[in-house]
Amino acid sequence: MSAIALHKVDASLGGAQLLQGASLTVEPGETVILSWRRGAGLHLVMRVVLGLTRIEAGTASTLGLDLATATGAQLRALRGQCGFVPYMGMTVSNLDVFDNVALAARFHGALAEEELQEAVRAALERHGLADLAHERPDRLTGAQRRLVAILRATLGQPRLVCLEDPFMEMAELGTYHVHGAIAPLCAAGAGVLLTTHTPRVETAFEGALMLLPGVRIVSWEGT
């Protein structure tokens, strides 16, 4: 079963039909990089995959769930099994770093509370954020907030991780943090969908994208 299977999908965002007959598959253990210019509908692809936008034509499934016919509760349960790092609005402002990382896994009960706290502590320690555990996100830099979002998305063994430009600004902290969070998930069989608006994917971010496990590049033309 594919982690993501879109076939001839039409979908709109804000009244504009950005996807027309779009097809895409992501297999378990594979990293697919979608690369194209801004405004081509990459964010809409993420929204379709996570069931946040309904498709208008074609077929779409994520982790085996038919997105066209799924109920609201089924879609929420699906998102609970996925990790997501948005390009903007990455953290919840009234929670500290520790609770931000724990948020999704805690809400969905992915791990027992003690196990969860241990996992969050270990992740923060491993990625150099332990000293900031009790800071609010507005005290962090953009790269630190992105890293917090990546750690939240990869906690609790998700079966699919969707990331919007995760390497953006990460040079400040080191792009190896992104690899360190994603590689174990791929090894465990999770699918990874990554979108980027940066041109020349092979050389972007000093080649960091190409070091992701099982990488496949799709130049997306928006249709």
């Binding site: 879609l75 998102r79 996925c82 809400f107």
Partner: protein, 267 residues
Amino acid sequence: MRPEAYNPPMQGLARRTGRHALSQARYGSELYRHFVQLVVALSDRRRSPLLRGAILRQVYFTAVQALPVVGALALVIGGVTIVQTLSFVAGGGRFVGTLMDRVIVQQLAPIITAFLVIGRSGSAITVELGNMCVRGELELLEALGIDPLRYLAVPRLIGVTLAMVCLCVWFAFLAMAGGVVVSSLAVRVPLAAIGDSMTLTGLGFGLFKSGFFGLAISTISTYQGMAVPRSVNAVPVAAQQAVVHSVVAVVLIDAVSTLLYLSRLAA
């Protein structure tokens, strides 16, 4: 050139009134739908430590932090109400107990507590949720599979309602204490006489009303906060509307429930 159609002033007024009535009816139905969604989210039995923590934080912010200001107000208002009554009712000492039951416990405690909660917590809830809306955090929660109603609004609904009832008890207790102190200095009313005039039904009615006030305040505040469009300028407007609409709702609930209560007593 066509002559401009004559538009009588009363016709314009009627049209504006009708339009206003329609928009208020639409707002009322949206508020009702929000409340029903909250009840549905509330009935979700899945337990989460996040929800428990959020409810406790809301009770702490709305009730515990407000105890000093509510207590001070209650003492003064309780004392002043009794002094005012004794100053113009001959032999008013006989009525002190009844006055405390009818005026302080049944009316002043729920209403004044509600106004304080609207000013302190209702507006804060709207601003907090409105800012989260503007920053795209509600969309983030949806994308993480977290129902914003269940995670953000339900704990506030439960927390504010619980806090309202607790604050009402606190206010009534201290207002009565203030009243007892003042009346004992002025006319020496025996405590037992005051106690005899207090009724359990009166206390129950006051608490019942304050519970309803809590539900109304939290429903309106969370609705206004979560309906903010993605513009920073919209947050103060939403906060102002939350305060005004909550005050109107509290006064309406108070009027209707008091009428129902009195008609039931008369029957």
